[in-house]
């Protein structure tokens, strides 16, 4: 019998970024006792790194905006394989969720008449992103954190869930270790909300922190839930590329929203060279019109730098591959040029993009008010995740909910910048609300002790192999290298088949990983346990990407470079079979109601 502490909650929320905090606040407001588990300290989750803003059709800057435009933009950006109901709820509810943050103390930048200011961003027709300079994520997480700590939520910091517990089909809790002492914890809960974020650590070049190891994806999958859209990984076009140690760190899209332009080594604004047909009518004719757009001219159209992230990333890759890249293998992102247009440009840049200024100054010795940055694509976000009911966020496993990046649906094949923070708020709230309701309707559950013994045994296995086994970091690095190379921005069947073989070998290596020392705050041990999740999501991404034989949004296949209408009506789903095999299937997208179809038609 393993030794562990037991905690009981009506609702257990796993993850304390934007979605998890918002879910916990809502569940607790609904009268549920809530436990909130986070891998790091409270307030450090990845949401803190979000820079640009929260997309919500408040129409404070352009009164032509409303939820319908936001809905249509989201569907267009997602190439119409989104869960349209989620896209609808998101667009309708985001404004209320933002106003709620203000009631809880958030301080967004203001318009001249004292309302919440909104900025332009890629794929959004009107200025829509509520923001605080370029540190919006920090503002959001701190607001939720400072509100949440007074709600009677039990916070379990530096605690990692390794397995979900079930009673029959129902999810009734979770097994965890806490980092500090290495002790085990058992959470009994009537409903569990996964809000664990993404999978960026499966790739070598990423903007994501160590926490992004696909935990929620893998936990849900192992518990029998379906994952969907896993082939859609977002490579953000602008990550830092030099010096090597900062490679992948995000450079916010707001740089382009505020007038920054992309250039190749010949000084050409190459984004004008390739504008997709479905965006042509919304894109500026020339540089002059693009500039006017960034300065708030309502009659001007977006510069091509603000096309969707998938497209901009591919254009950058093309420039680099064809020899027009920057010295360190990227392209140039120039905001300094605006000094030709604006008096006090340097001050303006520092004020609008303070953390970008600092980041380049401190980490790369670059003054962005004077010289261009070198940037290149970085793994940023996964559109895919746990397949959930749009309204309640419950997965195919009763009692198991998911929200935020680890859930799928709202973004389809590509996410628009700014739609993530609003997604966290809208669906975090919904998940919390419905998890609390679900919890109220449940009677007690039995957790069979074999599940616990098994979880405990698996958790300590790396110690039994001690340092005779391979180190965990070497396996992790090998996985990241391989995924980057074979299942990255440009994919083909042959390479992905090789990746599947490689994943099988890495699985084998992972099963032999050993760690030394003891269980108290031992990062080697934690890294060893994360490997299973990283491998599971990598397999799901690769299988799904092989299945989708077309190019759409974040998924680009050089062997199928065009969109195939047949794939425009399905989502790819993966599920764990009884024999442990990963089953891949295509699920038809339900017919969109006439009313929503009409909106899309009108906004074309």
């Amino acid at each position: 019998m393993p030794d562990y502490h037991t905690h009981e909650h009506d609702v257990l929320v796993v993850g304390a970024g934007g979605a998890g905090l918002r879910a916990a606040i809502e569940a607790s407001a609904g009268g549920a006792s809530v436990g909130l588990v986070c891998k790091s300290l409270l307030g450090k989750a990845h949401t803190v790194m979000a820079e640009g803003g929260i997309a919500a059709a408040l129409a404070n800057v352009d009164d032509r905006d409303n939820w319908k435009v936001h809905f249509a933009d989201t569907m267009r950006g997602g190439q119409y394989v989104n869960n349209w109901r989620m896209a609808e709820l998101h667009a309708r509810e985001a404004p209320d969720r933002v106003r709620e943050l203000e009631a809880w103390g958030a301080m967004f930048d203001r318009t001249t008449d004292g309302r919440i200011l909104q900025r332009q961003f890629g794929g959004h027709r009107y200025p829509r992103l509520v923001h605080v300079g370029d540190r919006t994520g920090l503002e959001m997480i701190r607001t939720l954190q400072d509100h949440g700590i007074h709600q009677g939520i039990d916070v379990h910091m530096e605690c990692t869930i390794t397995r979900l517990l079930k009673d029959g089909d129902r999810c009734v809790g979770a097994f965890a270790y806490e980092r500090e002492r290495g002790r085990f914890k058992v959470f009994r809960a009537r409903a569990v909300v996964l809000a664990t974020g993404g999978v960026g650590r499966a790739f070598k070049i990423t903007s994501n922190s160590w926490e992004y190891t696909g935990d929620g994806h893998a936990l849900a999958y192992d518990a029998g839930a379906e994952l969907t859209d896993m082939e859609f990984v977002q490579f953000h076009p602008t990550g830092m590329i030099w010096p090597p140690s900062v490679r992948g760190i995000l450079v916010t899209e707001a740089v382009r929203g505020d007038g920054g332009v992309l250039k190749n080594n010949q000084g050409r604004r190459f984004m004008f060279d390739d504008i997709p047909p479905n965006y042509r009518s919304q894109t500026a004719e020339n540089e002059e019109e693009g500039w006017r757009y960034t300065q708030g001219d309502k009659n001007a159209r977006r510069p091509p730098e603000l096309l969707t992230r998938d497209h901009v990333s591919r254009c950058i890759v093309r420039e680099i591959k064809q020899g027009r890249g920057s010295p360190h293998g990227g392209v140039f992102l120039d905001i300094a040029w605006i000094k030709e247009r604006l008096p006090n440009a340097a001050e303006h840049i520092k004020k609008k993009l303070p953390s970008m200024y600092q980041q380049f100054k401190q980490l790369a010795d670059i003054d962005i008010t004077r010289e261009p940055m070198e940037v290149g694509p970085t793994t940023h976000y996964i559109m895919g995740g746990v397949r959930v009911d749009a309204d309640t966020q419950m997965s195919s496993v009763p009692g198991l909910f998911a929200a935020g990046e680890c859930a799928a649906g709202i973004n389809g094949a590509n996410r628009l910048g700014g739609n993530s923070l609003s997604d966290l708020l809208v669906f975090g709230k919904r998940a919390g609300e419905f998890a609390a309701t679900f919890a109220r309707q449940q009677s007690g559950a039995a957790i069979d002790s074999r599940q616990l013994d098994d979880a405990a045994r698996q958790a300590v296995e790396p110690f039994e192999r001690s340092t005779q086994g391979e180190g965990p970091y070497q396996v992790q690095y090998a996985l990241q290298e391989m995924m980057q190379e074979l299942v990255g921005i440009v994919r083909n069947e042959a390479e992905m088949r090789r990746a599947l073989d490689g994943l099988a070998r890495l699985r084998e290596r992972a099963s032999r990983v050993g760690v030394g020392g003891h269980r108290e705050y031992n990062p080697g041990w934690h890294a060893a346990l994360d490997l299973h999740n990283l491998l599971t999501v990598s397999e799901a991404i690769t299988h799904s990407a092989i299945e989708r034989k077309e190019s759409r949004g974040g998924h680009f296949r050089e062997d199928y470079p065009d969109k195939d209408p047949a794939f425009g009506t399905v989502n790819v789903v993966v599920r764990k079979e009884r024999d442990g095999r990963m089953a891949v299937s295509r699920t038809p997208i339900p017919e969109m109601p006439l009313e929503l179809k009409k909106i899309i038609e009108e906004m074309k």
Partner: protein
């Protein structure tokens, strides 16, 4: 820049520990956290360190580098003298847990004791009007990433261990953000004096000097709060009025 450097890293548990030297390759652009990660991956898998964003935004990797409180992710190696060993040790004001990790839970407890944001009722349309010039002052405080370096360096905490009586610079910044919030209606002035010990701060600005977000902690947060305390609680006229009215509360 040399091709390798030595890092003298604190290895220890709750009760004891020692510095241990690790030599590791270094290259252009590296920060201290990169070196620590390299050592962790290649020589000491169990080396305990907190980190998340590696971009100076989350405030997790606070430590003392060559004796200076720093975020390891923002401390470039080319700013350090690599001809000698670079010492990396945990924040010394907080109880050690393991290696570079300390127990910072006290900070979370203190924050909870500060009265939460309480806005005035919204305008007729359900929203509020605030002007950029009014919010900027508070936005400076809200840049805080809770790295707790200011707490680490504050002598009231570091030397005098007055954790029970003094909230520390971080929480005075937090209180200032609430007190100066244009919408807030609550009053924390009396608490600041009585329970949060604002009087113990003798404005040596050590906190301001180490803030990675360049918040003018002393000048913009603590001193204005001290002034509010003085105006309210030490003004002889107000004091007299209070005595006459017999009010236990200061309005």
């Amino acid at each position: 820049m040399p091709t390798s450097a030595t890092f003298r890293v604190w290895r220890g548990d709750r009760t004891s520990g020692e510095f241990k030297d690790y030599s590791t390759p270094v290259s252009e652009g590296m920060v201290v956290l990169d070196a620590i990660h390299q050592i962790q991956a290649e020589q000491a898998n169990d080396l305990a360190v907190r980190w998340n964003c590696k971009a100076g935004k989350c405030g997790s990797c606070s430590a003392e580098v060559n004796g200076h409180p720093k975020l390891m992710c923002m401390t470039r190696l080319n700013q350090l003298d690599l001809s000698a060993a670079v010492t990396v040790e945990p924040m010394r004001s907080f109880p050690p847990v393991r290696d570079l990790v300390t127990d910072v839970s006290w900070n979370f407890q203190v924050k909870k004791t500060i009265r939460r944001f309480k806005p005035r009722p919204p305008e007729a349309d359900g929203t509020w009007r605030m002007f950029q010039s009014d919010v900027e002052r508070v936005q400076e405080f809200r840049k805080c990433i809770e790295c707790f370096l200011c707490q680490d360096v504050c002598h009231v905490l570091r030397e005098h261990h007055m954790f029970d009586q003094f909230a520390g610079p971080r929480h005075l910044v937090y209180a200032a953000a609430l007190e100066m919030h244009p919408l807030d209606t609550d009053d924390r002035v009396r608490d600041l004096k009585k329970d949060r010990g604002i009087g113990y701060c003798n404005i040596t600005k050590c906190c301001t000097n180490v803030c990675p977000e360049d918040i003018a902690i002393t000048d913009n947060a603590i001193i204005p709060l001290k002034e509010r305390v003085v105006d309210r609680l030490y003004d002889p006229v107000a004091k007299l009025l209070r005595m006459v009215r017999g009010g236990a509360h200061d309005v």
